[in-house]
């Protein structure tokens, strides 16, 4: 399938600061794609380059196979939902949504039909005559979304559009955004620094750091098979264990950590015996038992801290050399009290071997 968006070796620098570093990315049509990363990772710059508000120093940007690198924003068939919505304050809801359609030279009848259809999609029919200042945050958000969708863009760009909403509304809008994307079948390119938002809505997540892509994949793969310390830390919580590789057996890797021989799954990282590597163990992958668990990866520990969080309990377990591991126990599962000696273990398929890097503080 022809990718709807392609970044080819795109680099953008502001003076000495490189915002986007030799980015190569292609996006399939009809997908909800999220650029995820901390502030300054280049995700917003990439979005603005695609929108036409920034010009790359090097490389090309293609939209449905057509080179748009040097086209101004008004000549590109993409629309942006801005972080602050940027609704025109002097125009009512209907005229805001009609703005792009009018510039396309549509007949007033066609415009009216399209505006009505879009307002119905977000149940705002009764608000057509209101000014943006007379709407709530969530309603403005929906109007901004419909205004950007109205001219039927090839890709809809969303620049952290949920960040101004309160937590509850944000959750609700995540579900609504995803359902609108599915209903319209449009390609959404969503930019956020919030991993939870990314996990909730995306078909594909592109994790960016320092202007480069760290890893790209569906939410499940990124969470369960991170390929770098950055991704493991950025998406969800992770215990990172520095270990030495002993050997490999199929997709299982045996490693020595902290005097124990442990097993984990090797994903992208091809480690040789003797190499140092990092093992990623998610808190919920750690299991508790009173006696050593059957099989592998069992070790004794002591509960050092315990926080009840409602539907789960968060534990801090100290093992032999003083390393503390985060563990998470769901309501109703075996639990331990503070200070208790326990045995912990994890299944090899629930731990991933990645490159050894400096673990960010």
């Amino acid at each position: 399938m022809q990718p709807v968006v392609q970044f080819e070796n795109v680099t953008k620098a502001y003076g000495q600061a490189v915002a986007v570093d030799n980015l190569n990315l292609s996006i399939e049509p009809g997908k909800f794609v999220t650029l995820l990363g901390p502030s300054g990772c280049g995700k917003s710059t990439s979005l603005r380059m695609l929108g036409g508000f920034e010009t790359p120093n090097f490389g090309r940007i293609l939209l449905a196979g057509k080179d748009v690198t040097n086209l101004p924003p008004n000549k590109r068939n993409v629309n942006i939902v801005f972080q602050d919505y940027a609704l025109f304050p002097h125009m009512d809801v209907a005229r805001n949504i009609a703005f792009g359609l009018e510039l396309q030279g549509k007949s007033s009848e066609a415009i009216h039909r399209r505006v009505t259809e879009l307002l119905a999609l977000v149940r705002l029919e009764a608000f057509a005559g209101r000014l943006p200042s007379e709407l709530s945050g969530g309603q403005r958000q929906r109007v901004a979304l419909m205004r950007a969708l109205a001219p039927d863009p090839q890709v809809l760009l969303l620049d952290e559009p949920l960040s101004a909403l309160d937590a509850k509304l944000r959750l609700q809008m995540q579900i609504e955004l995803k359902s609108i994307q599915e209903t319209t079948g449009k390609t959404f390119l969503f930019v956020t620094h919030d991993q939870e938002e990314a996990l909730t809505m995306s078909d594909v997540i592109v994790v960016m750091n320092n202007g480069k892509i760290e890893q790209m994949g569906d939410p499940h793969t990124l969470y369960s098979k991170p390929e770098s310390v950055f991704v493991a830390n950025f998406i969800g919580e992770a215990n990172l264990l520095k270990a030495t590789v002993i050997g490999k057996d199929g997709d299982k890797t045996a490693l020595r950590w902290n005097g124990f021989e442990v097993q984990a799954t090797a994903a992208a990282h091809a480690a040789k015996a003797g190499d140092t590597a990092c093992i990623v163990v998610r808190p919920e992958a750690i299991q508790f038992s009173a006696k050593p668990a059957q099989g592998v990866n069992a070790m004794p520990g002591k509960i050092r801290h315990r926080v009840f969080k409602g539907n789960h309990t968060s534990m801090l377990v100290e093992v032999a050399d003083g390393t503390r591991l985060n563990a998470l126990v769901h309501l109703g599962d075996a639990e331990a009290v503070n200070g208790e000696d326990v045995w912990i273990s994890w299944k090899p398929q629930n731990a991933t071997v990645i490159r050894d890097e400096a673990v960010p503080a």
């Binding site: 508000f53 972080q83 602050d84 025109f88 510039l103």
Partner: protein
């Protein structure tokens, strides 16, 4: 009441304020009162009251022509000052921070140059470029004088404008000209209206520049000046009262408009 005696600075401030109001209002009230006096000379006591002077003013062709002339000049000066002022304000917001300071200072210069100096220099300038004194020269003078006020008002509004607004218009298919007319200009609307009213008031009120740049047709201030030289009469008071009421109404409306633009 006790609080007033206890708080001496506050009492003094309050008294100073009312003294100022009195000083402001007494001359105006006297002027207005004299316009209703049924006699040919301006002095107390008033004696009989009349509306005769107003009837006379309203039929005075000289007065009506001067009014019309003032309005025509004000309209022309306001139009050009608004266009130039908004344009300079846009330029200042687009310029780098170092240049925007220089541009802003230059744009504000006409507001702080003394009227007399400005009038003389303009007079020298128009004779240098062979522009005769008269309407065009007056409009030129008034425009230069009014531009800073438009710039300041437009700039204040522009600085409060979300930067993404124009981006959003561009993104939805507007080129920069359409984006300016359909988004920036409506956003500036209240500030422009306020600025225009200010221009009109400045122009109608101006005497010095008009005096140096004008031809034989008198504007309203020049007519009143000429009449005063011929001796005070209640007719002049009636004219002045009419001017006062109209300008006060327009001025208050302008203040209301700018307040609304700030609060929106």
């Amino acid at each position: 009441m006790r609080a007033y005696f206890n708080d001496i600075p506050r009492t003094l401030l309050t008294m100073a304020y009312w003294a100022f109001v009195l000083y402001l209002l007494v001359p105006l009230t006297l002027m207005m009162a004299m316009s209703f006096k049924d006699a040919n000379f301006v002095a107390f006591p008033i004696g009989d009251w009349t509306l005769r002077w107003y009837a006379q003013v309203m039929q005075d062709r000289q007065f009506l022509e001067a009014c019309l002339y003032s309005i025509v000049i004000a309209a022309a000066a306001t139009f050009s000052a608004t266009v130039i002022g908004v344009w300079i304000a846009m330029l200042i917001t687009k310029a780098s921070s170092r240049w925007s300071g220089v541009l802003f200072a230059l744009a504000c210069l006409p507001a702080v140059v003394p009227g007399m100096i400005s009038a003389i220099s303009l007079r020298v300038f128009i004779s240098t470029i062979d522009l005769p004194t008269g309407t065009a020269a007056i409009v030129l003078g008034h425009t230069v004088h009014a531009v800073p006020f438009v710039v300041v008002m437009a700039l204040t509004r522009l600085r409060s404008m979300p930067p993404n607004l124009v981006d959003a218009a561009r993104d939805l298919g507007a080129d920069s000209i359409i984006a300016f007319f359909r988004v920036t200009l409506p956003y500036l609307g209240p500030a422009i209206v306020g600025g225009m009213i200010f221009c009109v008031l400045l122009s109608v009120d101006d005497f010095v520049r008009t005096f140096f740049l004008g031809g034989y047709r008198p504007t309203l201030p020049m007519l009143i000046f000429a009449k005063v030289q011929g001796g005070m009469s209640p007719e002049i008071n009636a004219m002045a009262t009419l001017v006062l009421i109209v300008t006060a109404a327009v001025g208050l409306y302008a203040e209301y408009m700018t307040r609304r633009s700030r609060s929106r």
